[in-house]
């Protein structure tokens, strides 16, 4: 089970027990995910935000339908997907995007972070395997140098030097790209 699933499910169980703080934390954490989910699938940003709100309301009113023996993310995804399908059913045709709004949508933070993540993955793929693992552990997963050393079997200074060289290689790649 993924770490996200474990954390979200714990929040959901606390929310079902009536813990308002957990409930707020849960809804706040879900919102950017839902926003990204709907924006990826809808041309119109206002529609996507409406669906985010509708889904949040559905999570609230239908929370008794969550079976606690099942993964929470599966339930959430099914609710969001239903809201999306229902939206298409209601509007019959997939609305297209007026050209002048295109800029504002592509500049959006959720899309940005998704495409940034993709760029990073592409660059990382060009690194040799051992270096890739080092950068991932220290810079993306947020491990300390000591933890990364333990994971990779290198010495701490070895980890530091390795990460330094890998980052240098990455910045050289970005330079070439531009």
């Amino acid at each position: 089970m993924s770490e996200t699933e474990t954390r979200l499910k714990a929040l959901m169980l606390a929310s079902l027990a009536g813990d308002a703080a957990s409930y707020r934390a849960l809804l706040a954490e879900l919102t950017p995910h839902l926003r990204a989910f709907f924006k990826r699938r809808l041309a119109n940003a206002a529609d996507a935000e409406d669906l985010v709100q509708e889904t949040l309301i559905a999570i609230h009113t239908k929370r008794a339908t969550y079976d606690t023996t099942m993964p929470f993310t599966a339930w959430l995804h099914a609710v969001a997907r239903y809201k999306l399908i229902d939206h298409f059913r209601r509007s019959k045709v997939r609305r297209t995007l007026p050209l002048e709004e295109a800029d504002s949508i592509f500049a959006d933070e959720d899309v940005e972070s998704v495409s940034a993540k993709r760029d990073v993955e592409q660059l990382l793929a060009k690194l040799p395997e051992s270096k890739r693992e080092l950068v991932r552990s220290v810079k993306i997963d947020g491990l300390s140098t000591a933890e990364a050393a333990e994971r990779t079997g290198l010495s701490e200074s070895g980890v530091k030097v390795g990460v330094h060289r890998a980052l240098k290689a990455l910045s050289a790649m970005i330079g070439q790209k531009q």
């Binding site: 929310s15 079902l16 707020r24 709100q53 239908k62 008794a64 339908t65 339930w75 099914a78």
Partner: protein
Amino acid sequence: MKTDALIDSLSERATPVSTAAMTRTLLIGVGGGVIVSFVLMQLWLGIRPDLMPAMHTGMYWMKFFYTLLFAVAGFWTLERLSRPGASSRAQMIFEALPFALLAVFASTKLMMAPMESRMPMLMGSSHQVCPWRIIILSLPIFAGVFWSLRKAAPTRPVIAGAAAGLLAGAAGAFIYALHCDENAAAFVALWYTLGISAMGVLGALLGRFLLRW
């Protein structure tokens, strides 16, 4: 409304909720409908006068278990379909099982019977009214099931509607079996199933409109 404001107002309403409550609501919907339907059957048709002796025959129990198993499987399927993200494949297979068993049993009996008694076994003496009575007795249960299903979150409204209809039909047939004095498995396999299936079709048609949330 701003999304942040919405989160604030929703989190203020974090009242404790039991996830077993959903199953309970479905049970109340079915149970309420069954009571109404039973009273309706009593007032309109009446329990068959020979119920006690009939209970000593295998054929009585065949009808009893066919409709009961069908209804139980229907309830189980519907409980899964009312929860987003839950798989209902195993339940759907289980739902087809009572009919498959009865169909095998009924065709074996038909084949073993002499040619001239096959048609009477299949048609009985009440085939013209049987499916209609089952449909009418199912309607209160159908209403109860739909009432409770609207509180749930079926992500496939047409399929959930069909399952709700089959459940109502099977429970209605279960009640009708207290009145009906037909004795052939072939009759039950054909005419009971026809009435139950008609409810399934009705549920699929209405589910599309009534089960949106």
